[in-house]
Amino acid sequence: MTDRYDAIVVGAGHNGLVCAALLGKAGKRVLLLEANRQVGGAAVTRPFADGYSVSAAAHLLYQLQPDVQKDLKLNLKMAADNMSTIVLSADGQHVRYCGDQVSGVRQKDVAKFAEFHKRMARYSDLLRTAFNKPPPRLGTTNKKDLFSLARLGFDVRRLGKIEMREFLRLIGMNIYDELFERFDSPLLKGGLSLDAVLGTHLGPRSPNTIMTYLYRLAGNRGRIASPAGGMGSVSDALAQAARAAGVTIRTDMPVKRIVVENGRVTGVETEGGEKFFSLTIVSNADPRRTIMKLVGARHLETRFIQRINNIRMRGNAAKLHLALDGLPTIDGLARKDFGERLLIAADENYVERAFNPAKYGESSPSPVLELTFPSFRDESLAPSGKHVMSAIVQYAPYNLKGGWNEAARERFKQAAIKAISQYAPDIEQRIVASELLTPADIEREFHMTGGHWHHGELTLDQFLFVRPVAGAAQYQMPLDGLYLCGAGTHPGGGVSGAAGRNAARVILSGGNRA
């Protein structure tokens, strides 16, 4: 039968593309179905105003894993690499950091920052080694699992007594306390706080924010790049690799359900009513959407469903895109600095205060922002001489009280523009067109439950062996033939491709049932 495949991958996000490409390279007959017109999921470049394009969700590259690049022989062109972070100051005395270097702060903070970065980088390396392989399962007698668990313990122990103690002390802690003890500069503390909470439903005083900070560093020691042509070019390169590996990619094909017969998956049915058959279905959709919507609670066990249903995934970050007729003026900022990553986070309390309303379902009146001007280094994104600003704005809770109606969106957009105008007073005059994507929009456009781009909060209770949930680590669901390969699985979100690669390895080894 023509419609029978060795594997069907649902969703062509970057992880779906990586997984499909690796399965294809191994000689499998693979079909990749994407709901949207474009592949890439949340890593896409698309127009948002006449002549202006932007990376619609993710806009910086932290951690595309070298293993993925090597396996798929990718050759990505970067518009910018090793970008600096500049925390804006209203008086023009900006703080800037990159790697272990920081400037715009007192000498004491410079030394402490180097020490802080060294330690954090060391811990994040530890996480990184765990990223590129399936996480061990607990409570099994499987030798591979026991070995990799022992390895994990050994790696922690190898830090040495003092560092191990420090690692265990910090891993569950909030970043606020650690920064408070270490640094004087409010801007530095604000910037690092924002680094820790970006894309999460956490404030710097929330436990676990050291862990999210380490996660940000883990990909490539926090090195930030911006691909030429926007994030979509990464996805296009992955799609090219997948096609070269023989994968059939079909876009505009939203999957309605994953078909289950006699306790195993047998295929998928699209919204259009088309059916495709395969005994291996790999979902790049988030765990909640995959299990609750595409498979159905009917086909899985009660406690498993309960755990899936309880995955914390309330998106809290919005995306603001501005089409500008020229670069804004920012006091104390050199023209070349528009190619860097700019943060609006006056101090650590400012970040925490921005988070406060989100706890009660309200958006921040004074939000924190991560700004980039991708057109500065990549002219393909805007008409000549014009510019694009792409910003992550927090906090915009998914479950906004009263819902994300037009008035609520306008209010939040104005709050964001007002926050920017404190540093760039002429920003408003420069706006030609604008677009705000709230978590509700992100959910709609990218099919992510809760608009959470990590497919589930990256916290200790949803990490490693318990990501997405206990009893379902290692990409294999308790339903024969069903796998996950997205950010909802180990290691998590960010355009890394690690989850897709790990999933492909598990599938190719025939699954790992204990």
Partner: protein, 398 residues
């Protein structure tokens, strides 16, 4: 509801005013918050009412859930191990439900009241589990334990009693069937179900009509030997029928702490309730694995020599040398109607095949001094008490 409005202490069922008048022993125990009588005047006489006339047991404390909504059938079919699609409106299903590991949480009966409308009844309470199991289903689960009063009307003359009450057409009701009647403007539900292994019915009505129903029932039963009964008599009858009791013959899986103390349906002799041909049900994966690898335990019905009930006894494979303890008794009784020393027990596989001989170590006291006998016991397949009248339709008019 403020704290002062929450009923304090033990609850009384809507039949309490009637039971109280007939009660001479004043021995009550607690059953899920309600007072329930051990016996009202004499457990033995009450037992014989079940076997020779009609015994009436107040089963209002039985936990009742009304389950409705577009996904009610799918929900129940996922919940229990048997195929609920086969249970048509007007039928009742005995069923067990398991946790994710295929271990029995409880057994109970599911009434398909009307198309898409169900009632689930069980001895224990399960709202938390039922609610968790409802995630992803469009169903409503309402606890109606207090709102619905219920009586078990059990024994050979029960059909005659209910007929005399004016329930026309009851004769057509087959075992595990249910019918709706009108009683004083309220809906009276009658099901041919019970816990005695005999001809018998259970009647269900809104709590406000409970006393009127009781009066009408006892009025109609006067010439048919109707008697109220307590839990002791019922417990003896259920052992004769080979029925399981939670916390006696198995522990609900959610109450066990140690691994290996819960039981799968296979280990309780309920293989016939597990249907691998139907779509997924909770515990299916685990049970399929157990089916492949074999179970640890087996529930046995034992016919034991002698007349000393084998309460709490160990079961051995051999009488003397190399005695190996293979299990234990969970329910035991001298059966007056069978004239047999009977018991339910649990043994380790592969012991306890029907027809096997095992040995039961019975301790009993004689004038303070303990005596021990090793009694020979045979594993039997069928219930000890299974009279033809139990399933005869229409029932004979005793």
């Amino acid at each position: 509801m403020s704290i002062s409005e929450v009923p304090q202490g033990r609850l009384r069922t809507p039949f309490y005013s009637r039971l109280q008048k007939l009660d001479t022993l004043n021995t009550w125990h607690e059953w899920k918050g309600y007072s329930s009588a051990d016996a009202l005047y004499c457990a033995e006489t009450e037992y014989f009412a079940i076997r020779n006339a009609t015994g009436v047991f107040d089963l209002t404390p039985m936990t009742k859930y009304r389950i409705t909504g577009p996904d009610a059938l799918d929900y129940l079919d996922r919940l229990v191990t048997r195929d609920m699609r086969k249970i048509k409106p007007g039928r009742v299903a005995y069923a067990v439900w398991c946790n994710d590991q295929g271990q029995v949480i409880d057994d109970g009966t599911i009434f398909h009241l009307r198309e898409g409308e169900y009632r689930l009844c069980s001895q224990e309470r399960h709202f938390a589990w039922l609610t968790a199991a409802a995630i992803g289903f469009d169903v409503s689960i309402v606890v109606e334990t207090a709102e619905i009063a219920a009586l078990a009307v059990q024994g050979p003359t029960s059909f005659s009693v209910l007929s005399r009450m004016g329930l026309e057409g009851l004769g057509d009701l087959k075992p595990f069937g249910l019918m709706h009647f009108e009683f004083e403007g309220a809906e009276l539900l009658v099901s041919r179900t019970g816990y005695t292994g005999d001809l018998g019915y259970e009647v269900w009505i809104a709590a406000e009509k409970a006393e009127a129903l009781w009066d009408a029932l006892f009025d109609a039963g006067k010439l048919h030997g109707i008697r109220p009964i307590g839990t002791s008599a019922l417990d003896l009858a259920r052992i004769e029928a080979g029925y399981l009791a939670a916390f006696e013959d198995f522990l609900p899986a959610d109450t066990t702490v140690r691994t290996g103390r819960s039981r799968s349906p296979f280990e309780l002799g309920l293989d016939w309730l597990v249907d691998f041909k139907k779509p997924n049900f909770n515990g299916r994966r685990a049970l399929a694995e157990e089916k492949r690898n074999g179970s640890t335990w087996r529930l046995v019905k034992l016919d034991i020599e002698g007349n000393k009930p084998a309460h709490h006894s160990y079961i051995y494979a051999k009488e003397k040398r190399n005695r190996k303890e293979i299990g234990f008794i969970t329910s035991a009784a001298w059966s007056p109607v069978c004239k047999q020393n009977i018991a339910l027990g649990t043994v380790r596989m592969p012991h306890g095949k029907p027809g096997d001989t095992v040995w039961v170590e019975i301790f009993y006291q004689r004038e303070m001094h303990w005596t021990r006998v090793m009694a020979k016991a045979v594993v039997v397949d069928k219930p000890f008490w299974f009279p033809p009248r139990r399933s005869l339709t229409p029932p004979a008019p005793y």
